[in-house]
């Protein structure tokens, strides 16, 4: 595929987070999350995004044809977005895998396949969890499944919500226990402090 045929649509969530939807898959075998330039070593696409000058990139998540970039720089996405787009195009046409495969976990009897779990959890999120939290303007993003532990991030009305832990423990956890019982735990990696529009806001002593 030539560079000119790749289409990229940027979908900023806010000034810190943007999803780039690419017209071709970049990592078809699950999800990779990189929380630092060090972690990105060996994955050319993630390395290039972390290297964007003054980008302030703190996290890159690549899943299928979606690249999610998080930056701590509060500037709008125009400038950094162009550089991310260029990095995606360069990685896509290079011929090398844009993202290295995740190192296999140590094998053990009865070990679960995180990629398979990811698909199952993603289905529960898409079909059940997100339609429910959407009623309060919220959303829950599946970041990764590692060693059967689900990493998720809450957004919209859920981010910073005073009842986020109730949603997590009494809602999502129960749902996963029912539909994906192999899940061993949930880690909420949301930065609740930066939630600008929490549905319920703590205010009483």
């Amino acid at each position: 595929m030539s560079q000119g045929e790749i289409r990229i649509t940027a979908e900023p969530v806010d000034n810190h987070r943007c999803k780039f939807v690419v017209s071709q898959p970049l990592h078809a075998t699950g999800v990779r999350r990189f929380a630092s330039a060090d972690e990105a070593k060996g994955s050319p696409l993630a390395e290039a995004i972390f290297a964007i000058p003054a980008g302030g990139v703190t996290e890159v998540i690549v899943s299928g044809n979606i690249v999610t970039v998080v930056k701590d720089n509060p500037a709008p996405w125009q400038a950094v977005g162009k550089a991310v787009g260029a990095a995606i195009r360069a990685a896509a046409v290079s011929g090398a895998p844009p993202v290295a495969a995740k190192a296999a976990p140590p094998s053990a009897a009865g070990a679960v396949n995180d990629d398979a779990l990811y698909e199952q959890v993603a289905k529960v999120f898409d079909e059940q969890v997100n339609p429910m939290v959407a009623r309060h303007g919220g959303r829950v993003e599946l970041i990764d499944v590692q060693d059967a532990v689900v990493m998720l991030r809450m957004g919209g009305g859920c981010q910073g919500c005073g009842m986020a832990d109730v949603t997590l423990r009494q809602g999502i956890e129960g749902m996963l226990a029912q539909f994906v019982p192999a899940v061993r735990g949930i880690v909420d990696i949301t930065d609740h402090a930066t939630g600008a529009n929490p549905y319920f806001q703590a205010s009483k002593k």
Binding site: Q128, M132, V133, R135, H136, G160, G162, M163, A164, D165, V166, T167, R169, Q170, G171, I172, G174, M175, A193, T194, G195, A196, N197, P198, F200, Q201, A202, S203, K204, K205
Partner: protein
């Protein structure tokens, strides 16, 4: 767990329940979007109507047995008492919970029992403030009956200040969420101002006996005109003999109110005449302040102790850990909309500081006391001595800079009309 949607306590209690493997049913006054998916774990109750809430839980308990009930704030403490009575669970008598909630009832009971409290008088908001101002001793404190966190509490040193304070309180009580508490929003207390040093006492009542969990010093003077809390540090540096009389005063108040079980949080002052009971609530310490309390070698949380007690489980040591600990409720930096908070990472790097939590979100409007009451965040520290902890809290606070956008122009407040 009775968790209002506005509480700061959700995480602490939910995590404590997980820690001890308790299956939770969370009840709130607004429905969770997951209630249909987890009908055993989520419930909506009308916290404004404790009797009805208790009836609803009674029906619920037929399909999902309930073994204990815990309220986390002033309102849910009453609901918990009604539920406990209906389901025959461990809890306070409903009259005791109500007396602890209503500042006037509380003072009447304490006065009847001879507990040292400020002189007080109940007034209707609609009474002529200029007439009242002529007849009362100064300095005095105006207090609403039901608001929390010192919201609406104003000191007046003379008749003019009283009339101005009355006008402010009238506007505060006309706000929808204050007016929603009904009849109590039409009254206020005028109380004698007690000069002195203020402390807070955290306790657990077990079978009518008060166990003191911590006494906190409040090193910043609370002399008014408004009463915004800042620093709590424990252990208290108050001499042991005086701490014993503070505990005795709180114990007498617990007995006078009829509190038999569960957490209590009391505010007391002391001066040359000894300790004075200022407030006592049948709930744990508010905000996120409980994070500074850890008990026994296992560093058990206050929330775990409260849950264990409610469920009749064995209690761990109620002896607080040895190091000093403190929390600062970050003072409201002014009126306006939060644009940015800088210096959080620097504040976290101050030695002894364990955490800095900014709870005000970008775009949130901050309202200073006495109209407001929501702190923009909390700073936590732990160290060898109370003075080192206090210094660390102040040093961390000095690193923070709040950038606020100016508040919208004031709208004219409308004096309430009694229905």
């Amino acid at each position: 767990m009775l968790l209002p949607t506005t509480t700061y306590r959700t995480t602490a209690f939910v995590e404590a329940a997980r820690q001890i493997g308790v299956e939770l049913t969370v009840a709130s006054e607004q429905a969770s979007t997951f209630e249909g998916a987890n009908p055993a774990g989520l419930l909506t109750l009308d916290f404004k109507n404790p009797q009805r809430a208790a009836d609803d839980v009674h029906v619920f308990a037929r399909r999902q047995p309930i073994q204990g009930v815990v309220g986390v704030d002033d309102d849910t403490a009453i609901v918990a008492a009604f539920i406990a009575q209906r389901l025959k669970l461990k809890g306070n008598p409903t009259q005791a919970a109500e007396a602890a909630r209503d500042k006037h009832q509380q003072r009447q009971r304490l006065a009847d029992a001879g507990v040292p409290i400020p002189r007080f008088a109940l007034h209707l908001l609609t009474e002529d403030s200029a007439e009242i101002a002529k007849t009362i001793p100064y300095p005095c404190v105006l207090k609403p009956l039901r608001l929390s966190a010192s919201r609406g509490v104003i000191r007046a040193d003379n008749p003019q200040a009283f009339i101005e304070a009355h006008g402010r309180l009238q506007a505060i009580l006309a706000q929808p969420e204050a007016a929603a508490c009904g009849e109590p929003a039409w009254h206020y207390l005028v109380e004698e101002f007690i000069p002195g040093y203020e402390v807070a006492l955290e306790g657990l009542v077990v079978n009518r006996r008060l166990h003191v969990l911590a006494i906190f010093d409040k090193p910043d003077p609370l002399d008014g005109p408004f009463f915004e809390e800042t620093i709590y540090v424990t252990p208290s540096t108050v001499p042991a003999g005086l701490q014993a009389s503070i505990k005795d005063c709180a114990e007498r108040a617990v007995r006078a109110l009829g509190i038999t079980e569960g957490p209590v949080h009391a505010e007391l002052r002391y001066n040359e005449n000894g300790p004075w009971l200022i407030e006592l609530a049948a709930r744990p310490i508010g905000g996120r302040c409980s994070a500074v309390l850890r008990f026994g070698d296992q560093k058990v949380s206050l929330e775990e102790i409260i849950l264990r007690h409610a469920l009749g489980m064995a209690l761990p040591s109620l002896q607080r850990e040895r190091p000093a600990a403190g929390v600062m409720m970050i003072p409201i930096p002014g009126a306006g909309t939060v644009q940015e908070v800088r210096g959080v990472e620097d504040a976290k790097r101050v030695p002894l500081v364990e955490d800095v939590q900014i709870t005000a979100h970008p775009g949130e409007r901050l309202v200073p006391f006495p109209e407001g009451s929501r702190y923009p965040g909390f700073i936590f520290a732990r160290g060898e001595t109370p003075s080192a902890v206090e210094a660390a809290l102040r040093a961390a606070h000095a690193k923070l800079t709040f950038t606020l956008l100016p508040p919208p122009p004031p709208t004219s407040s409308v004096a309430p009309t009694r229905p």
